[in-house]
């Protein structure tokens, strides 16, 4: 809900000539202080679930993350949203506990459970006071091993989801993201919203959930990470108690087809006639998690559209006042990824926004970034990297990512070294490769009657109503 505080989101400097950044603090090349993970202890339960434990921190808290390779990309083609929906229903009843009993057990001690799916994984998170860790892990085990999926809970969840889909249409940014995902990935398993659609959610039956749970979720395609004020011995012991006897699921994760994006300059214009602003998404192929291009691409992207001082922010927002926020990003998943740009502008500035954005992207694609810009990006990204290992929750997430995507256990330790090794030539190469060498897909959500006439000569335009994205 709206709070009564407003945050600084835009910092527009005076439109004065920019002088070169002076080096304020002269230092030798920085040798970043070591960033390390706590010692990892690995065990496997009798049911075959891999368990990672990392003891750390002065606060009496523990974070648990269970990831299962059963994300939205392994759903049946006519059941979009089933992974996320199943994840939500798992805590609404087990063989031994009702939804109310589960809620009460978790919430009484001040623990919190959350669930959710991404394209690649279904995740369950638990944050608990350390003294209640065994009890909470036991509840997690029940939820995962023996959910009962009560019919009444399913109907309730469906109604809430459908009401949510309706209200989402009031949010043009949500509509834009949905349209972008669908158009960019097409028939690929990544080509639908993780939450699914109203048409599919309407058809979910209890059998669908039971089957998804039995066939897609199991110990062999899962990883349990436990981080915080608990010893590795306790973690291994309690994990065995909680997950012994867990059966089902595949032996190995499902292989996805490679990405095959058809962007080729198409424009999807979603009509929301009451809008005076246009939501803009521009994108094309990127790369998968753990790809060797990651470090040069991260540095290059930081210069193009990463922080508050990126070229896109400077040209689009600071110099021209065309928007209030713009950023570019690499979205990386297990079987492929996206390079994208997300922004919005006033209706009558839509074309100018697109033209200036594409021109800035083209400059970097053709000429790359300067060595000075690279150095700045490296220091920025390296300086802030330790924040990603600051909390139990973030360490648990990093551990899961390392194992699920095969990043290597030295990922955190070597991160800054690998980043600092990036050479200007590499950033030129990744820019040429990913910055829309082929014309990108453009998705616009706004007042079509005003926007369409601005798009002449830009590419083939398809106009669709917003209600297509319920």
């Amino acid at each position: 809900m709206a709070t009564r505080a407003t945050k600084k989101t835009v910092k527009k400097a005076a439109a004065k000539a920019v002088k070169a950044v002076k080096k304020v603090v002269s230092k030798a090349e920085p040798t970043p202080a070591a960033v390390t993970l706590p010692a990892l202890h690995e065990s496997t339960t009798s049911s075959g679930l891999k368990v990672l434990a990392a003891q750390r921190g002065v606060l009496p808290l523990v974070a648990v993350r269970l990831v299962i390779r059963a994300g939205s990309s392994v759903e049946p083609a006519d059941k979009h949203g089933l992974s996320d929906f199943t994840a939500r229903l798992m805590r609404r009843g087990t063989a031994r506990m009702s939804a109310d009993e589960i809620d009460e057990t978790i919430e009484f001690v001040g623990a919190s459970f959350s669930v959710g799916s991404s394209e690649d994984v279904l995740s369950l998170f638990v944050a608990t006071p350390a003294e209640h860790f065994p009890e909470m892990l036991s509840v997690l085990g029940q939820i995962v091993r023996e959910p009962s999926f009560p019919e009444r809970e399913l109907e309730l969840a469906r109604e809430r989801a459908l009401a949510g889909f309706v209200n989402d249409l009031d949010d043009p940014s949500v509509v834009a993201d949905r349209a972008f995902t669908r158009a960019l990935w097409g028939d690929h398993p990544y080509g639908h919203d993780v939450g699914g659609s109203a048409a599919h959610v309407r058809t979910f039956t209890r059998d669908d959930l039971v089957r998804f749970h039995r066939e897609r979720m199991g110990p062999k395609v899962s990883l349990l990470s436990v981080v915080g004020a608990v010893s590795p011995e306790v973690v291994a012991r309690e994990a065995e108690k909680a997950f012994a006897g867990w059966e089902g699921g595949p032996e190995t994760p499902m292989e996805l087809p490679p990405a095959d994006m058809k962007t080729s300059g198409r424009i999807i214009l979603v009509d929301k006639p009451e809008q005076t602003q246009t939501q803009v998404r521009i994108g094309g192929p990127g790369f998968r998690v753990g790809h060797p291009d990651y470090f040069p691409a991260a540095a290059m992207n930081n210069v193009l559209g990463g922080g508050f001082t990126s070229r896109l922010v400077n040209e689009i927002r600071v110099e021209r006042g065309l928007t209030y926020g713009i950023h570019s990003y690499f979205d990386m998943m297990n079987a492929g990824g996206v390079f994208g740009i997300s922004t919005f502008t006033q209706t009558d500035k839509t074309r100018e926004m697109i033209d200036v954005t594409l021109a800035e992207v083209a400059k970097v694609r053709e000429k790359g970034i300067t060595p000075a810009e690279l150095k700045k990006a490296q220091r920025y990204l390296a300086g802030l990297y330790p924040l990603r290992t600051e909390t139990n929750e973030s360490v648990a997430s990093v551990l899961s990512d390392i194992r699920v995507h095969g990043l290597g256990d030295d990922w955190v330790e070597k991160f800054r070294e690998r980043l600092m090794e990036v050479k200007p030539k590499q950033t030129v190469e990744v820019a040429a490769k990913y910055l829309f060498a082929q014309p990108p897909l453009i998705v616009l959500v706004g007042k079509a009657s005003e926007v369409k006439k601005q798009l002449t000569g830009l590419g083939p335009v398809t106009v669709v109503p917003a209600s297509d994205y319920e």
Partner: protein, 451 residues
């Protein structure tokens, strides 16, 4: 105002928090207060600067100046000119942001620990010698207008919240939105900004919190070197609370294109320092924290009248408001939902919570409190928040003991007092047909890109 009895008797510092907060404190001759807390877990530092000024200190005609001014703080000072602040910060491995509320304006940076001196140089430069020029002010004004359009005019909860503020308060400055009225934002002059800077951005109106991979002794020496020569400013005028007593329920409607109706309600509450505030924290948790909380269970699961329910009870310097937001279904009757909500609140006032609910709320407050302190940023912000709203950061350390001692009798008394109908204000969203019918049907966009 009657206070909950005898809580002060149980105030004692929580041992876990006590060991965590080994804080070095100092006050410079110019009045700048400094709080330093070392934590060498990771090679990063968070620096927070709290200025004791917000929309509470404004007057009609220049509402929104606190927030507009916050933007101006990033537009160049004497040593580091336009655009330099973030360029220098980012190229040294840091990032910045800021926020403005009714009661304070807060600037913060997270950065690699070897950038500490650079950050102090940047921050002290703008406190000492901010440069406000007309050109920068004009462009920043446009940005803020755009921000207002996005966050308020084209955001349903933004519109409702703004309407609600004017119902709750008749005289107090809390009645206008932090971002300000559109015409006032247009009206603010460079002279207003300069006077505002001299009055509220002087070192004696600020507190610095530095938490992370630092040597407190060396850091204090650096703070003295960079901030020591900034002259002390005048003592800001106290804010008069002239709010009259509310004499009955207040209601308003908002007609706007939307898929479903919604209701936003508020009850006039106590000030942050009032001990009733902590009892209301307990009640807030019992009402909406978790799937098994009273309002979620009743309104979302059992009766299914609402899609979601939120309670926003934030501490403020002067008496604040307990705000409830109900997101409804397309066919929900807002009046029916209101009645169900009132019945639940009346039940708390008449019967209190169950002992288990009371304990559950306390357990959750403690767990959330600890989680908030997991990061340098969280620790620095928590200290600033307590100091600004409770009077001292140390009061944060004793909160768990105060919560633990709260009884069901206090819960009943506080619920009966604050959830009375004559303290209530209600805003109902009536969905209007879509399409641009008037100026209110401007487009909508959220702050997704915002950081």
């Amino acid at each position: 105002m009657p206070k909950a009895p005898a809580n002060s008797a149980v105030r004692k510092a929580d041992p876990v928090l006590q060991s965590l907060f080994d804080v070095q404190e100092a006050t410079l001759p110019n009045g700048l207060r400094v709080r330093l807390l070392a934590n060498h877990d990771t090679p990063v530092v968070s620096l927070y600067t709290f200025f004791q000024v917000g929309s509470r200190n404004e007057r009609p005609g220049i509402t929104g100046i606190s927030h507009l001014f916050e933007h101006m703080m990033f537009n160049g000072a004497k040593k580091y000119g336009p655009k330099k602040f973030d360029q220098v910060l980012e190229s040294n491995g840091g990032r910045s942001n800021a926020y403005t509320s009714t009661d304070m304006t807060v600037y913060y940076e997270d950065f690699a620990s070897d950038a500490l001196e650079t950050v102090l140089d940047l921050e002290s430069d703008r406190m000492r010698s901010l440069r406000i020029n007309d050109e920068a002010l004009e462009s920043e004004r446009q940005v803020v207008m755009e921000e207002r359009r996005v966050r308020v005019d084209n955001d349903i909860t933004g519109i409702m919240d703004e309407e609600l503020g004017t119902l709750i308060w008749k005289a107090h400055a809390y009645r206008w939105p932090v971002i300000g009225w559109e015409k006032d934002i247009e009206n603010i002059s460079r002279e207003d900004c300069e006077q505002y800077f001299r009055t509220y951005y002087a070192p004696n109106n600020a507190v610095l919190y530095i938490c992370g991979d630092i040597d407190p002794k060396k850091t204090l020496a650096l703070v003295r070197r960079y901030y020591g020569d900034i002259p002390k400013g005048p003592t800001p005028e106290p804010v008069l609370n002239a709010e009259p007593v509310q004499k009955g329920e207040r209601r308003a409607e908002v007609r706007h294109p939307a898929q479903s109706p919604a209701v936003m309600l508020a009850w006039q509450g106590p000030a942050g320092r009032d001990e009733d505030t902590l009892v209301l924290d307990i009640i807030q948790y019992a009402l909406t924290k978790g799937e098994g909380s009273r309002l979620v269970k009743k309104l979302v699961y059992e009766t299914q009248l609402a899609v979601s329910v939120m309670v926003d009870w934030g501490w403020r310097v002067d008496p604040g408001a307990i705000i409830v937001y109900l997101e409804l279904k397309q066919d929900s009757d807002p009046r029916k939902v209101e009645e169900a909500l009132y019945a639940e609140l009346a039940r708390v006032a008449a019967e209190g919570l169950t002992e288990r609910e009371l304990q559950k709320a306390k357990n959750n407050l403690r767990a959330d409190h600890l989680r908030e302190l997991a990061t340098n940023s969280g620790r620095a912000h928590a200290m600033g928040h307590y100091e600004a709203l409770l009077g001292s950061w140390r009061d944060g350390l004793t909160l768990p003991s105060v919560y633990a001692a709260i009884t069901n009798e206090q819960v009943k008394a506080v619920a009966a007092k604050y959830f009375a109908p004559e303290r209530r204000s209600v805003v109902t969203l009536i969905p209007a047909p879509g399409g641009a019918t008037d100026e209110a049907a401007d487009g909508a966009a959220d702050g997704k890109d915002a950081e």
